[in-house]
Amino acid sequence: MATVVDLVYEKSPVNLARLNEELAAALGEKFAGVSGGPGGLRVHIQDDMPLALQDQIAPLIQAHDATKLTAAQQAEVNREAALDALRKPWDQWTAQDQADFLRILAEQAGLIPVA
């Protein structure tokens, strides 16, 4: 049974969620995740990951752009912006405002996919 081992890298800043997506897409199921903290950036992989795959990790981290967001992060930014636009007195709400708010609530409740 494979065990998870850590590979430590120096990289700052890091968008951990974005880097996780980038590494997962390239490394597949042998990739367990990434961690950040006082000890630096750690990439968690199964110890039986082929060396050819392991060799891809450092270039991917080097190319990582922390300013780029994941789809989920961008959706959250959009949701926050939509909510900010609704911060006004109730008597100023239009029918469109009400429809927009209802859509946000439905997305949060999981009733409809996030736009």
């Binding site: 969620a17 367990a32 990434v34 961690s35 903290g37 006082p38 000890g39 968690h44």
Partner: protein, 170 residues
């Protein structure tokens, strides 16, 4: 001074200073100062992970080594965590590299970053340890999104200081 099995005294036995020091003074000192280690987080940055498998939170600072005299050991952790997408966060403790909880560990919390951080706290009795050095490491995982353990790193409104400790109790 390590604990020694107390002497069984016999009638008319000569009680010497050496015996008293060994079996009374030294054992009382051992009870007063049992093998113990602790760490309070006051770090430069918080801890984050996306790992779906259990991994060390901090293999240096949150790795406590004590040498018990072959008794039971209590381990404890408390801290504050959140997950960027509201997913669960699991915790376990590895003793000499083997997780004591197995499966999904010994503690689970669910915390959404859009709401507020939540407290995670557990105390666990570990039995059957040999009289030798043992290392206790805090581990965690999250099935989705990014988990954060706040580590006294100055994050606004979340500058809290977790603690991890291990102490022999018998």
């Amino acid at each position: 001074m390590a604990w020694v099995t107390p002497r069984t005294w016999v009638p008319e036995e000569l009680v010497t200073a050496n015996l008293l020091n060994t079996h009374l003074r030294d054992n009382l000192n051992a009870l007063k100062n049992p093998p113990s280690a602790h760490y309070e987080l006051n770090q430069g940055s918080d801890y984050t992970t996306t790992s779906g498998s259990f991994v060390d939170v901090d293999a240096t600072n949150l790795a406590l080594t004590i040498t018990p005299s072959g008794g039971d050991v209590l381990v404890h952790f408390h801290g504050a965590v959140e997950n960027s997408g509201g997913s669960a966060i699991y915790f376990d403790v590895a003793v000499d590299g083997t997780r004591i909880g197995g499966d999904d560990g010994i503690a689970r919390v669910r915390a959404s970053a859009s709401l507020d951080m939540v407290e995670v706290s557990f105390t666990r009795l570990i039995t059957g340890l040999s009289a030798a050095a043992h290392t206790f490491k805090l581990q965690w995982k999250t099935p989705a999104n990014t988990a954060t353990l706040f580590a006294g790193a100055g994050t606004g409104g979340k500058d809290v200081h977790p603690q991890f400790w291990a102490r022999e109790v018998s």
